[in-house]
């Protein structure tokens, strides 16, 4: 496909996506659907933020839920205890979390792989302990009530935050795109592909990982903080839940971590599915089973993501295209996969 027409297609797709997101509130029949939309957008921002680390460097964090919770609590506490205006508090909170990510990253990223995941899980567990125990400061299990930034009726409140989340999503996606096309991004991707090799080629791997982890933490905290301002009630048990992190991983992996819109698509898919099953069937512990099984299936059979896998499949079916080496081996790979099943 010639470059120009491809660009037009991509442009159209982005415009369609943006339009769909923007018209959603006027189409939503009631505030409940709108609030679900806010939740889904929140997930989309979180999954995109997660993808700064997961997608570029291949380091999988199960603790991003905790960073979001931290962003939420920091925002809330800055409003309640320091009396900052809501959105100033949000900005300061994101900076604070990003600053905290520096020592965290230094401990977690100095060595490879496993330690990072261990630290990310430990982060959730320790923050849960601290925020529960330090009740005099955080409110503990009594929760923390974050004052509303605007004096609006509830449906209006949802509408305003829907657009705020949409803006944040646009910024996060833009930042991801900027890094994706940059030399910095290429360095990160080379770390994902082969860290030793990247280092031998002169990439300062530790510094790169640390920087992108901090950026990711910052965006995650922004999403968490915005959520706190929207939702209003924070409780350590729900803010520092290991499940949040696993949903994010599932969303990103499902949508494809190497694609700009992969996590967004994953978030829309998983987020909507979560709400739908909740409304239709209520909740049983089976949602844990479903999450677990889905995650295992993706990890085992489609580690590059479900949407990319479907894309590959369609491409393979479309045999009229000129045959490149890429396609032949994609076919071979699929054969191998089949043989492995």
């Amino acid at each position: 496909m010639p470059n120009a027409s491809k660009r037009i297609l991509v442009g159209t797709a982005i415009a369609l996506l943006a339009a769909a997101i923007l018209v959603f509130p006027s189409l939503a029949p009631n505030p409940y659907i709108l609030s679900s939309g806010v939740l889904v957008l929140n997930y989309a921002v979180l999954a995109t933020s997660w993808n700064f680390v997961g997608g570029f460097t291949g380091y999988i964090s199960l603790g991003h839920g905790a960073l979001a919770g931290l962003g939420g609590y920091a925002t809330g506490l800055l409003v309640v205890k320091a009396g900052l205006p809501s959105f100033a508090a949000l900005a300061v909170a994101a900076l604070l979390v990003a600053a905290l990510a520096v020592p965290l990253g230094m401990a977690a990223l100095r060595v490879r792989g496993a330690s990072f995941v261990i630290v990310s899980i430990a982060l959730v567990l320790i923050l849960l302990l601290v925020f529960q125990s330090w009740a005099s400061f955080t409110g503990g299990s009594r929760g923390l009530v974050v004052p509303r930034p605007f004096d609006l009726s509830r449906p209006e409140h949802h509408r305003v935050f829907y657009y705020l989340f949409a803006v944040l999503l646009a910024i996060a996606v833009l930042a991801w795109w900027l890094i994706d096309r940059s030399r910095f991004g290429l360095g990160l991707k080379s770390i994902r592909e082969d860290e030793d090799k990247a280092e031998a080629l002169g990439t300062p791997t530790f510094a790169y990982k640390l920087i992108v982890f901090v950026v990711s933490a910052g965006f995650t905290a922004l999403a968490g903080g915005l959520y706190a301002l929207w939702f209003g009630d924070l409780d350590p048990v729900f803010q520092f839940s290991i499940l949040t992190g696993s949903y994010l991983v599932l969303m990103a992996l499902l949508g494809g971590v190497r694609n700009l819109f992969g996590p967004v698509a994953g978030a829309i898919l998983v987020g909507t599915a979560l709400e739908y099953f909740k409304v239709e069937y209520g909740d049983t512990p089976l949602h844990l089973v479903a999450t677990g099984v889905l995650l295992a299936l993706v990890v085992l059979f489609m580690p590059d993501g479900v949407l990319p896998a479907i894309g590959d499949l369609l491409k393979r079916l479309d045999r009229t295209k000129k045959s490149s080496i890429r396609e032949v081996t994609a076919a071979e790979l699929a054969e191998q996969r089949k043989a492995a099943v």
Binding site: I179, R183, L186, K189, S190, E193, D194, E199, S324
Partner: protein, 238 residues
């Protein structure tokens, strides 16, 4: 003096991999490092390029102490290396693989015209320019070896360390790699090559260092090494 090591030691648990390796490589020449399996050649490479920290001893390059420095600093100092089992970035295109070696510059696009031209010229020189847009994982073994070399050369190192450049390649490609090394050497690059293929070593090297049990036991031009009894002893286990 260019690359040199002094009394380099490294032990893994109870096993001594390097036992006081003191070596001077000849600048501007093609140096070869040979020795039987397990004689510590790869460990030596890893210590020199910072992938492993030696227990003691020193690594110097152009009179700079590089001991224990991070691998990327050593790479920036002008030492490029390939890996024993060739390593590329599998899910990146050949072009991206080569571009990844450009000294990094923040948020500037990695697709600048001048970088792409330079990368393409290396791919062309190694004869794989037609694969520029293919992902590395879809390339053959030989093509990947050439791609890895192109990546290393893109960083413009003055000294290139090659870990078994002939490993697993067909005779035709072997010839091409040999010729290429000589050409690149003629342009002023120093080479240090770990290699088991004695024909290649003898035909392209100016200077050969023989390792056994973690230290050099002989060195000299191919003609001398060929007839050195210690070398034969080390290889045959006598």
């Amino acid at each position: 003096m260019s690359l040199a090591t002094h009394e380099l030691r490294k032990a893994f648990g109870g096993v001594t991999a390097l036992d006081g390796a003191t070596v001077d490589f000849h600048p501007g020449k093609v140096n070869a490092l040979i020795g039987p399996n397990g004689s510590g050649k790869t460990t030596y490479f890893n210590c020199v390029t910072g992938m492993i920290k030696p227990d003691s001893g020193r690594v110097t390059y152009k009179d700079r102490d590089l001991t224990g420095k991070a691998p990327h600093r050593i790479a920036r100092a002008g030492l490029g290396r390939t890996f024993q089992l060739c390593r590329t970035f599998p899910r990146m295109t050949a072009l991206e693989n080569v571009l990844a070696a450009v000294p990094h510059g923040g948020l500037r696009s990695f697709r600048t015209r001048s970088d792409i031209e330079r990368a393409m010229s290396w791919l062309t020189r190694l004869g794989i320019e037609h694969l520029a847009r293919s992902e590395a994982r879809d390339m053959s073994w030989g093509q990947q070896k050439l791609l890895e070399l192109a990546g290393v050369l893109m960083a413009e190192p003055e000294t290139v360390l090659l870990d078994e450049p002939a490993g697993g390649v067909n005779p035709a490609l072997l010839d091409r790699i040999g010729t290429l090394i000589r050409e690149l050497n003629a342009e002023g690059r120093t080479f240090v090559i770990v290699e088991h293929n004695m024909d290649l070593v003898m035909s392209i090297s100016d200077h050969i260092v023989v390792f056994d049990r973690g230290r050099p036991i002989a060195e000299g031009p191919p003609s001398v090494i060929r007839s050195d009894e210690r070398v034969l002893g080390a290889y045959l286990g006598v």
